[in-house]
């Protein structure tokens, strides 16, 4: 309990603050000070929405990963390893390549991400339902296939590669208020819905027979839970593309912080995920600032996904090494 309070009371505000200050545009005085200055405008119209996009993406990925892990009963079940996230990215890039929606349309990106993630996710689950022990094998195969299709799309229109990179690696750079409108409600709505149904997640986790014996229809409950996880992952992808490792690592952190009861782990996964991506993006912005000597406009900026991938890999290696020392 104490580590929970500490981490959430310290880590989340710290990452939020770091994110706002990292670009070096201004300090909190600028942000809360009188309107009219250029710095004030930059912070409110670029910094704050970018921060909110990071927080939302992180919350969505954290909860989505937690739901996937609980319902598929697999510690590796994460949006990026079950075909959900790769599907979402494929959907977005296909939509952009074939001009199905304007590049700046948040609603279009969300719809395309949703279609793609539903496709990728349901393909994995259809295969998995006959052979549940191999969920991750099929998920990885499906994800590889979807990544192949993405490459095919890029080969089809190589000139788009620069634009596609932000979706492939994952970044919240350039997210402004227009992108947040509906996606904000979409993500917070699904998270609240999942939180309200956390008793179902708890009963489902120890097994289908167990859940059925307690009066739950496990098939229907799992379908609903996976739908919610897919919807969240699609929301995250429509904001930030394929940010790696957060959906995999954050649920484990949330369980370590809050135990096994989903009534607590769901909100904690949301807050931890939010802090994770806000922190990662703060690092990305700071790295940008250090490299600012070069012509900034010619560069994409350090993508958030690069930071989460590096940090996530480090965390996983540490955890795996520690786990290897635990007997039994």
């Amino acid at each position: 309990m104490r580590r929970l309070v500490w981490i959430l009371a310290v880590a989340l505000p710290a990452t939020v603050l770091a994110h706002l200050l990292a670009p070096g545009i201004g300090d909190l005085g600028t942000l809360l000070g009188p309107a009219g200055t250029l710095e004030h405008r930059i912070m409110w119209e670029l910094g704050v929405p970018r921060l909110l996009a990071a927080l939302l993406t992180g919350a969505a990925l954290g909860v989505s990963g937690l739901v996937l892990q609980l319902t598929l009963r697999n510690p590796l079940a994460a949006p990026e390893l079950t075909g959900v996230n790769p599907g979402a990215v494929l959907g977005i890039l296909a939509g952009l390549t074939f001009g199905l929606f304007p590049a700046d349309s948040a609603g279009g990106a969300l719809a395309a991400a949703l279609a793609g993630s539903a496709l990728g996710g349901s393909a994995t689950w259809l295969l998995t339902s006959r052979d549940p022990g191999r969920a991750i094998v099929y998920g990885l195969l499906g994800s590889a296939l979807l990544a192949g299709l993405v490459t095919l799309l890029l080969a089809y229109q190589p000139s788009r590669f620069g634009n596609a990179l932000r979706w492939l690696v994952g970044s919240v750079q350039g997210r402004v208020w227009e992108h947040l409108g509906f996606t904000w409600w979409w993500i917070t709505g699904w998270i609240l819905l999942i939180w309200a149904g956390s008793a179902v997640l708890g009963v489902l986790a120890p097994g289908d027979d167990h859940a059925a014996g307690l009066g739950l229809r496990p098939g229907a409950a799992r379908a609903a839970a996976l739908t919610a996880a897919t919807a969240l992952a699609a929301g995250a992808a429509s904001l930030a593309g394929a940010v790696a490792f957060v959906g995999l690592v954050v649920p484990h952190a949330a369980r370590w912080l809050a135990g096994a009861d989903p009534r607590r782990t769901v909100p904690v996964a949301a807050l931890t995920g939010a802090a994770a991506i806000a922190g990662a993006d703060a690092v990305a912005q700071f790295a940008d600032r250090l490299m600012a000597g070069a012509e900034v406009t010619q560069r994409l900026g350090v993508p958030t996904g690069v930071v989460t991938a590096l940090a996530g890999a480090a965390v996983l290696v540490t955890v795996a090494r520690r786990a290897a020392h635990v007997p039994g």
């Binding site: 309200a196 120890p206 027979d209 307690l214 009066g215 739950l216 370590w256």
Partner: protein
């Protein structure tokens, strides 16, 4: 009360149960015995509504199981499963509280009384002192008692137990079975338990039902059912049955499998082994 009539079930071409008729009266403790794969657990799962029969009906207190929702079934009967999938960090109290799930309110919230029921179930089964511990850190015997606490917390009049003594040492086997009997007595429960130790069934059950070839091969009080003929026809074992002088409970000496190829395991005096090894 459980009433099973004409129950048939199979997987694909393989028929597992071929016309089962069985009644477990109110307050009765009935043991279901038979060799591995004879359909004991399948029958239990059919009665719990976890499988759908090909033919025949299961009635709980006269109501057809098929007409009840999952939640209504969960309020009438609790199942003790052989194992649960591991959930990292899940504590004893968190699991036992899930027993109240069938009784939850409209928003899925558990109330104060539910906490009381869960605590009481842990007291009754002797796991209250480990309520805060993580399930993965418990021994097999402790875990079995926790699963029993979960079933008790469900507060259903019928209890179905699938091999409640599996993987336990003799002391814990006796503890769990004595506990089941006490619960039956104090709560007036109707209990149907799959047991693989014939001696346990003979000692703790009011009635033994033996399955063989997808049918009920024997059904009656232990003294009448446990015979040398039953050992031969149901279990494929040559053995001798003696009766405990204190309570007349039958006790089996299992000498060797009937399969001629094996012959007597040991020449000379009979081997006094456990009734039926799993």
């Amino acid at each position: 009360m459980i009433t099973v009539s004409g129950l048939e079930f199979g997987y694909g071409d393989r028929t597992v149960l071929d016309g089962i008729d069985l009644t477990v009266g109110h307050g009765e403790l009935v043991a279901l015995v038979g060799v591995n794969g004879c359909g004991k657990s399948t029958l239990l799962r059919l009665i719990a509504g976890l499988l759908t029969p090909r033919r025949g009906t299961v009635r709980l207190d006269g109501t057809d199981l098929a007409s009840l929702s999952r939640r209504e079934v969960a309020r009438r009967l609790a199942v003790l499963h052989q194992a649960l999938a591991p959930v990292p960090g899940l504590t004893v109290r968190q699991l036992v509280r899930q027993g109240r799930y069938p009784h939850r309110g409209p928003l899925g919230m558990l109330g104060e009384p539910d906490d009381g029921v869960a605590e009481e179930a842990m007291e009754l089964t002797g796991v209250a002192h480990m309520a805060g511990r993580v399930l993965d850190t418990l021994s097999g015997g402790e875990r079995q008692r926790v699963r029993l606490a979960l079933a008790v917390a469900q507060r259903s009049p019928i209890l179905l137990l699938d091999e409640p003594t599996a993987h336990l040492d003799v002391r814990h086997q006796l503890e769990v079975l004595a506990l089941v009997r006490r619960l039956r007595d104090s709560r007036d429960l109707t209990v149907l338990a799959v047991l693989h130790e014939l001696d346990h069934a003979a000692r703790f059950a009011d009635r033994i039902v033996a399955l063989a070839g997808g049918r009920v091969a024997a059904d009656g009080p232990p003294r009448e059912v446990v015979t040398e003929e039953l050992l031969a026809t149901v279990f494929g074992v040559r053995g001798r049955v003696v009766h405990d002088e204190r309570n007349d409970a039958p006790h089996c000496f299992l000498d060797h499998p009937l399969d001629a190829a094996h012959g007597p395991a040991v020449a000379g005096p009979a081997v006094h082994g456990p009734a039926v090894s799993p």
